[in-house]
Symmetry: C2
Subunit: 232 residues, 2 copies
DNA sequence: ACCTGTGCTTGACTTTTATCAATCAGTCGA
DNA sequence: TCGACTGATTGATAAAAGTCAAGCACAGGT
């Protein structure tokens, strides 16, 4: 893998404690590729031939069924996706597409499984990563089942704000229709939901969100670490 | 752990390949307890002091938020729950209660983490288990986001039928209101949904489901292995 | 056999969410 | 500068799901 600056990758929790030899082994069969926006990298149901690592850009994980489609998550650098399918040697459960121009490292799944069997530290790192992924999905599942769309949006706004160190104004980092899909609603409804947050001091201008009344928003949203705190 | 017949447990994929010594170590600090029905074993947000293993009975994993409550999964013997919280040493994300009289093994989380660090085979077994759990939640998430409640019910019926080796009639194995909660709807709506399946040859008498027109039901439900096949 | 409680069902109604159609706003390229 | 396109918004309407209240059915205890 001569053309990849793999220092970032080596630093990932997943690989950091891996033996040098195993890491070199793993990277030997890997390759890097640049993809334009809106390219479908993998399709659910396909066999999991590669573990993917996003070096730059961003990836939409989504799923289709009977003509419907929903976004499940966004992957940002530097992290991996479809680890579970790779480990279980099972088909991908989600499809993935680039949202923007993205640089992806492709690691053959067979090599990952071999490294997993050979290197205890790697196996342990995978556990931590998977446990994290698992807990994240459980949280979104709770979000979806326990809250109305307005509540989901309110809490989403608060989570974003936290990511921006509490700024009272910030820009959404993706299209509204994708946000709608992630939150489990239609674009039309997202528009209306934003209006529904006006009484709680949230205003929207294009892609820019402004929180004018933090207290009021929090009182409405009732954020809960067991759903909203992605670090826990 | 003198009072537990642990042969079942030793057979679990999670422990099968573990070194004898590590296993003995792990079980030394564990204990078994019998619980009556409807006992809340753990509450979300609490620190994860024990890994739980269901020896007999059944467990409801659920979550509460602002007075609302939803069931997320049912755990049946012999298997573990809350593995992810234990491994990450993070608070439980779900609450758990006994549905019936249940026999539970409690393994101190610290011991599990120690065994995990010491025994590579155990670490690998945990990976497989977690990957499985993760994929299961992703599937229910897709079910919830991509389907209407009628479609979810139809596919649920088909999944149950599969579990009973394709029998055309079988009994639901839990209360309808809990089924409603699992499927993300109200009990009233579940009643109506069952009626909605009548045109597709599904009839319900109390707890007994009869499938009279398999083809018609499948045509409506459009089951998909990437959502409904729990073995994949 | 008869209460009594619990869970299930039903009907009427409300709220929430989706759909369809039209319009608007901003971007990009000719 | 002007279309042409794409995504966002709005309004009207419909469908889906939830709520509330009443009635029913069955099981368990007396």
């Amino acid at each position: 893998m001569p053309d990849v600056d793999d220092t970032d990758i080596r630093q990932l929790d997943l690989f950091a404690d891996m033996a040098d030899e195993t890491y070199a082994d793993l990277m030997r069969g890997s390759y890097v590729q640049n993809f334009p926006p809106q390219i479908e990298l993998i399709t659910e149901g396909d066999p999991s031939d590669f573990l993917h690592i996003v070096e730059s850009g961003s990836i939409d994980l989504f799923s289709r069924w009977e003509g419907r489609e929903t976004s499940l998550a966004t992957v940002r650098p530097v992290s991996t996706f479809i680890l579970a399918a790779t480990i279980r040697d099972a088909p991908y459960l989600m499809s993935a597409r680039t949202l923007e121009k993205s640089r992806i490292v492709l690691v053959p799944s067979q090599d990952v499984r071999r490294a997993f069997a050979a290197d205890g530290n790697f196996a342990r790192a995978i556990v931590t990563e998977l446990a994290q992924c698992y807990r994240t999905v459980v949280k979104s599942h709770k979000d979806l089942k326990l809250r109305t769309s307005l509540e989901r949006l309110a809490n989403y706004v608060l989570r974003q704000q936290k990511r921006r160190d509490g700024a009272t104004a910030f820009n959404l980092d993706f299209e509204k229709r994708r946000l709608a899909s992630v939150l489990g609603m239609t674009p039309e409804n997202l528009s209306r939901a934003f209006k529904g947050l006006l009484p709680y001091g949230v205003s929207v201008d294009g892609t820019r969100i402004t929180i004018k009344d933090q207290t009021s928003l929090e009182q409405f949203a009732k954020p809960n670490p067991m759903i909203d705190d992605f670090s826990v």
